[in-house]
């Protein structure tokens, strides 16, 4: 059937966009907290203060005259990422994987001169990549080296794991893998693959591309059923701890797994999308209801992560 019925969707506990907006985003995320997550620099500083692992901040450039210092700031670093603090959808992110003196190389081995780099920073500062076009801050971050386990599943770029945290409890998780079709971006609506992850074990459950189920990675042909996220027991408490940091009740936490440092918080989102339900092949509403009915007890992120792992186990 082309269309399904609202009754069917309801029976599967699927949450629609309207319900998300009214009952979760508007009800649990106070507007004044948004800047904490919309500005990646603020998020990072808050997270560091709370001892939450994030990609290392190598430096910031706030004003045009700081661009002169770019050279000296970058001198000690071989690999780094320059990104706008208020960018969205991955725009304006420049990854440098190698350098030879003043010539830098992207992961695709495209060469970039120091002048190009300076121009990129100038563009970021002037707000070219910020949503509202307001002046922005350029952040220099340590480059993340993806865990080997993803080599077989990623076309390009670093896969990230999106965890929905509701009132501090992880409720659903998904791995996002870039594909050739998505042009190396991890955006699901551009053709990236979303893989639902079992909250109890970190095991892949179900995968979708363009909202339709698939079983192998479209570029590498690897079966998703063999995929298992490493460091799962560290990752979930880390995600859950973002609740205390931001105060947002309905939060999307994006996590990357670094080869050396393990799970790191990359970004937070006050309006996480609905595609995670597709990736998991199940609705999120019953899980949210379960969390809501939990006693309003003070628990540590570790305790909350443990409760979620028991509640939402899909594989025994």
């Amino acid at each position: 059937m082309f269309f399904t019925s609202p009754k069917q969707l309801h029976a599967h506990g699927i949450m629609g966009m309207n319900r998300r907006n009214v009952e979760y985003v508007a009800a649990h995320n106070p507007r004044h907290l948004y800047p904490l997550v919309d500005n990646k620099l603020k998020t990072k500083l808050l997270a560091e203060k709370a001892n939450i692992a994030v990609p290392k901040l190598l430096g910031t450039l706030r004003y045009q005259h700081d661009v002169r210092d770019l050279h000296s700031q970058l001198l000690p670093h071989e690999k780094f990422v320059i990104k706008p603090a208020k960018g969205s959808g991955g725009k304006g992110i420049l990854v440098i994987a190698e350098r030879e003196h003043d010539v830098y190389f992207k992961p695709s081995e495209e060469a970039i001169s120091h002048d190009d780099l300076e121009r990129h920073v100038t563009n970021i500062l002037s707000g070219l990549y910020s949503l509202s076009g307001t002046p922005d801050i350029a952040m220099i971050e340590a480059m993340i080296e993806a865990h080997n386990i993803f080599d077989a599943y990623s076309f390009e770029g670093v896969p990230d794991i999106r965890v929905i945290i509701f009132k501090g409890y992880p409720v659903m998780a998904m791995l996002r893998l870039a594909t050739h079709a998505s042009d190396g971006k991890a955006n699901l609506h551009q053709g990236a693959v979303g893989v639902g992850i079992d909250l109890a074990t970190g095991q892949a459950l179900h995968a979708v591309q363009h909202d339709r189920p698939i079983y192998q990675h479209p570029d590498t042909q690897r079966e998703f059923s063999e995929l298992h996220i490493p460091d799962w027991d560290k990752l979930l408490p880390l995600a859950a701890a973002c609740y205390e940091v931001t105060g947002l009740g309905y939060l999307g936490v994006d996590i990357v797994i670094d080869k050396n440092r393990g799970p790191l918080i990359l970004e937070l989102n006050a309006r996480p999308g609905l595609a995670i339900q597709m990736a998991n092949g199940t609705g999120i509403t019953p899980r949210l209801k379960q969390i809501e009915s939990l006693a309003q007890q003070q628990r540590t992120p570790e305790q909350r992560a443990q409760i979620s792992r028991e509640l939402f186990a899909r594989i025994s």
């Binding site: 269309f3 069917q8 969707l9 309207n18 059923s225 019953p286 379960q290 899909r314 025994s316």
Partner: protein, 536 residues
């Protein structure tokens, strides 16, 4: 803070206010709920002619005073060379035209526009009758009259039936000797009425003469018809003296009550009054507004109608914007169509109103596509946002000029309407679409661009609908209803139509997790389902 009952109460209040005011305007002020409803308006012209004698002339003419069942829309007393005054004496209204000097044949006009409204002025003129003085008859008429009245009194039970009997007898085809004697050899209408009133006074029944006109279109040189009105102790009752029918007839204007003269002329002779009647139809709304203004109905006095015509026209299109807004809300919240820019479709629809739909669509697609091409060059230049959009605005203006000039030379003037498109909106649309193209690819541009045009077309069709246009302008209070609907939709948490498609694979996978307790159990089972990737 927020409470659901309060919210619902507020919505209910808005609905009541919106519908209440609309119904009030419909029933109390006569605004039709449907466009094009027309009301018959009777234009009655009284032409007064007399021969002046070279002296100052004064014409005094009785005017209808709150005629029952009719509403006076307007009066016109214009007569050249005459001064005019309207006199109100007790329950009489008289027009007075005067001139210093008049010679030969003179004509004075009085024009009246009325429309019928059942129940209007029904209770006016219900004052108690004056003391009755029994009419004097000379012999042999006195005997005939008393005999007749005695006979009638025996045949009737009350004042009403007595009057009916009397009128029947007077109009009988084979009148008795008494009647023939009383009527004499010239039983004119006016005379008959006078006689009836005199006879009724013998029976102690208060009666008076009433004159009026039957409203029939195209009648010329009409004279007033005589009726009689009797008081039955409680109220006045009107009888048609020639048919003995009771009550105010249909299509009838009651011109004058009581025995006062219809027309008095000083300084003239051979005076005549003729009436002519024509019927024309007016839009019912116009009439409602006019009579509302006259009655100083606050709702009309403080409404859009009190603005100058030019501003009224501006409001006509402003009041359509909420219709566009609710279409956008419906399409986004209930259907889930993606548009580029939330309210851009409304502005496009407003431009379509000026350009007509097909021309508008063509112009829009042309300007935006050409703009996108040029914008793709601008994006290589790495301009700052404000500078980039300013550049796009100039490009849009250039495109619009070229389009106008070329179309003028080629002879299709439709494309000249390109100027009705708000250029800032076009520039922003181009900017957004171009970013969308870079970030999400051309497919998304087509989806959002198509969505915007679809919603704009739908909004255009609604906004140009005659009924919608009529209702929004004439019942601006329906804005409250619109607002209430939008508020309710703002709290809609159900699925969107597009989500029924999007999530369809999950629904068809057959795994159902309804109640919270069974989730863990069913999830364990799900491990064996094809839903899990292990064995797939």
């Amino acid at each position: 803070m927020y409470s659901r009952p309060k919210f619902l109460l507020f919505v209910l209040l808005l609905l009541v206010a919106g519908f209440g005011l609309t119904l009030y305007k419909h029933f109390a002020l006569g605004f039709p709920l449907w466009p094009g409803e027309r009301t018959q308006v009777w234009t009655i012209e009284a032409k007064i002619e007399f021969e002046a004698q070279g002296e100052p002339a004064l014409v005094s003419f009785t005017l209808p005073n709150n005629p029952p069942g009719l509403v006076i829309l307007g009066e016109d007393f214009a007569s050249p060379n005459y001064g005019f005054a309207e006199l109100n004496q007790s329950d009489q209204r008289r027009a007075q035209w005067s001139t210093r000097q008049a010679t030969e044949k003179q004509t004075v006009y009085y024009r009246l526009d009325v429309y019928e409204k059942p129940g209007e002025n029904a209770n006016i003129n219900n004052e108690a009758p004056e003391q009755i003085i029994a009419a004097e008859f000379e012999e042999p008429f006195r005997t005939a009259a008393t005999t007749l009245v005695n006979e009638l009194q025996q045949r009737s039970s009350d004042v009403r039936t007595l009057t009916l009997e009397l009128l029947k007898t007077l109009n009988s085809d084979s009148p008795s000797q008494n009647i023939r004697l009383l009527l004499g050899d010239r039983p004119g209408e006016s005379y008959k009425a006078k006689l009836a009133i005199k006879l009724l006074s013998l029976a102690d029944v208060p009666a008076r003469k009433v004159r009026g006109l039957f409203l029939e279109s195209g009648r010329r040189r009409q004279a007033l018809k005589s009726f009689i009105e009797i008081h039955d102790g409680k109220q006045w009752r009107l009888f048609n003296q020639s048919t003995a029918e009771e009550g105010i007839p249909e299509h009838f204007i009651l011109w004058q009550r009581g025995g006062q003269s219809l027309l008095d002329i000083e300084g003239g002779r051979h005076s005549k009054v003729h009436f002519s009647i024509i019927e024309n139809s007016h839009s019912a709304r116009k009439i409602a507004v006019r009579s509302g203004e006259d009655a100083k109905a606050a709702l009309i006095d403080f409404s859009i109608y009190s603005l100058p015509i030019e501003e009224q026209n501006a409001f006509k299109s402003i009041l359509l914007v909420p219709i566009g807004a609710i279409i956008v809300v419906l399409m986004r919240i209930l259907v889930g169509i993606r548009t580029s820019g939330t309210f851009m479709p409304i502005l496009i629809a407003l431009a379509f109103i000026k350009t007509s739909l097909l021309t508008g669509l063509f112009i829009f697609i042309f300007v935006v596509s050409a703009g996108l091409l040029i914008r793709s060059y601008l994006s290589h230049l790495n301009l700052l946002l404000v500078a980039r959009i300013s550049a796009v605005i100039i490009v849009v203006i250039g495109l619009m000029s070229i389009m106008s000039i070329v179309s003028q030379k080629l002879g299709f003037s439709q494309a000249l309407t390109v100027t009705f498109f708000p250029m800032i909106i076009l520039a922003w649309t181009i900017e957004r679409m171009s970013i969308l193209w870079e970030e999400d690819g051309p497919k998304e541009v087509l989806i959002q661009g198509g969505g915007s045009l679809f919603v704009a077309t739908l909004a255009y069709l609604c906004m140009t609908n005659r009924v919608v246009e009529y209702l929004t302008f004439n019942f601006p209070e329906l804005l409250f209803v619109n607002l209430a609907c939008i508020l309710l939709l703002g709290q809609y948490t159900g699925y969107r139509l597009t989500e029924l498609r999007r999530f369809q694979p999950i629904a068809d996978s057959g795994q159902i997790t309804i109640d919270d307790e069974s989730i863990a159990a069913s999830d364990h089972k799900a491990a064996d389902d094809n839903n899990v990737l292990h064995k797939s």
